[in-house]
């Protein structure tokens, strides 16, 4: 049940970001689906593996691959689907907790949270890199044949 609620909330949240970035009207719903599935991946994996970093990594891969597939199918730029889906994964919370620990002079927690934030950002990068290069190499292979 809680998964369904999370799915719905993530869908609505991604739609909001999609309109903030002014994506084409017909793509709003699809980008919401991409974002919701990405968030659900994050949610499930973060519960089971208890690690935000790997959860973000897999979520970014899901968003990237789904975005590339949608882009191919509907003939739109892939960023239209990827950008709204990535925004909820950006570690705003990590940034906040790092800053909170820093200003309260709790340097141990600050380092802890800071490294986690950094690694979450790196995980997003890695996820997008993998999905994008995968789709590029498939495109090149098809070109050759």
């Amino acid at each position: 049940m809680s998964i369904l609620i999370q799915l719905l909330l993530a869908f609505l949240s991604t739609i909001g970001f999609a309109i903030l970035f002014s994506i084409p009207k017909k793509s709003i719903c699809k980008s919401g689906i991409v974002g919701a599935l990405g968030w659900i991946t994050f949610y499930i994996i973060s519960i089971h593996l208890n690690s935000y970093t790997s959860a973000t990594f897999f979520a970014a891969i899901v968003v990237g691959i789904l975005g590339e597939l949608m882009a191919r199918y509907y003939k739109k730029p892939a960023t239209v689907y990827i950008i709204p889906g990535i925004v909820p994964l950006v570690p705003g919370a990590g940034m906040y907790y790092t800053m909170l620990a820093l200003v309260s002079k709790d340097f141990y927690t600050a380092i802890n949270k800071g490294t986690e934030t950094f690694f979450i950002a790196a995980a997003i990068s890695l996820g997008i890199i993998i999905s994008t290069s995968l789709s590029r190499s498939i495109k090149r292979m098809k070109h050759k044949n």
Partner: protein, 259 residues
């Protein structure tokens, strides 16, 4: 003589058209390789242009093409990037249409200028939905209904303020800093008066509309395509936007925890 002059003018127009298309895409947050690709495709689609090349960075476009043994080069500087993914899609469609038809260049330029004017959503709608995104995000992080409401109102105020101070043409750093400061200041106040319940969730939710999601995505996609200069500069943009937000939040928290 007249005929060749006309053709030369047509080639010049083609160059103008392709850079205009590139400028619209780059200004609205397209990746570098897409801009370069579009410009080259448009240039090579016409007449006897054998050579056309584009070099695009996030802050400028250089295009040159060879027509009848003569090199023509055009350079434009691109400032203040705004995100409007709809325009990227429209220019993308336009370039496909232009390449596959015999559209005259004048008509093409007129069409591009029209695309540049299109507003997909009104600024008010964007602000309303942007704050909705932040509010639902606070629920995702385990906020209560009151947190949802206060996040909605705070991000509404943040987005309106950022829209207003955009006119003064300050840098993205100042914009993000002010946005994060307002967001955390109002969150502190709303928890103080008992309207919001979890201060950290409200702050996290309201700074979500400022986080550099586009810069991160584009920086990586540029780097993978081999556009290292664009990748680096967009990565710099992402890092400094994040730092500005962190400074803004830290500034308010510092005062709050001391006083």
């Amino acid at each position: 003589m007249d005929k060749s002059d006309n053709k030369r003018k047509e080639a010049k127009n083609l160059l103008l058209l392709s850079t205009l298309a590139g400028k619209i895409m780059l200004k609205n947050g397209a990746e570098t390789y897409r801009v370069e690709d579009t410009i080259e495709r448009i240039c090579k689609s016409r007449m006897n242009i054998k050579y056309a090349d584009a070099f695009v960075t996030p802050t400028g476009i250089f295009v040159s093409l060879e027509y009848d043994g003569e090199m023509m080069t055009y350079l434009i500087r691109v400032k203040n990037i705004k995100i409007d993914l709809n325009k990227i899609d429209l220019v993308n469609q336009f370039s496909r249409e232009f390449v596959n038809s015999n559209m005259p260049t004048d008509e093409g330029i007129a069409k591009l200028k029209e695309i540049n004017k299109i507003k997909n959503y009104s600024p008010r709608l964007k602000i309303l939905f942007g704050s909705m995104a932040c509010a639902f995000f606070s629920l995702l992080f385990g906020g209560t209904f009151l947190d949802f409401l206060s996040t909605y109102m705070i991000s509404l105020i943040v987005l309106i303020t950022i829209n207003k101070i955009d006119r003064f043409k300050m840098t993205f750093f100042v914009n993000n800093f002010i946005g994060a400061t307002i967001a955390s200041f109002l969150s502190v106040i709303s928890t103080k008066i008992g309207f919001g319940q979890n201060m950290d969730i409200i702050i996290i939710g309201s700074i979500m509309s400022l986080v550099p999601g586009v810069a991160i995505t584009n920086a990586l996609r540029d780097t993978i395509s081999g556009d290292f200069i664009s990748g680096l500069s967009r990565g710099m943009e992402a890092i400094f936007s994040a730092l500005a937000i962190a400074f803004g939040v830290g500034f308010v928290l510092n005062i709050y925890l001391r006083g």
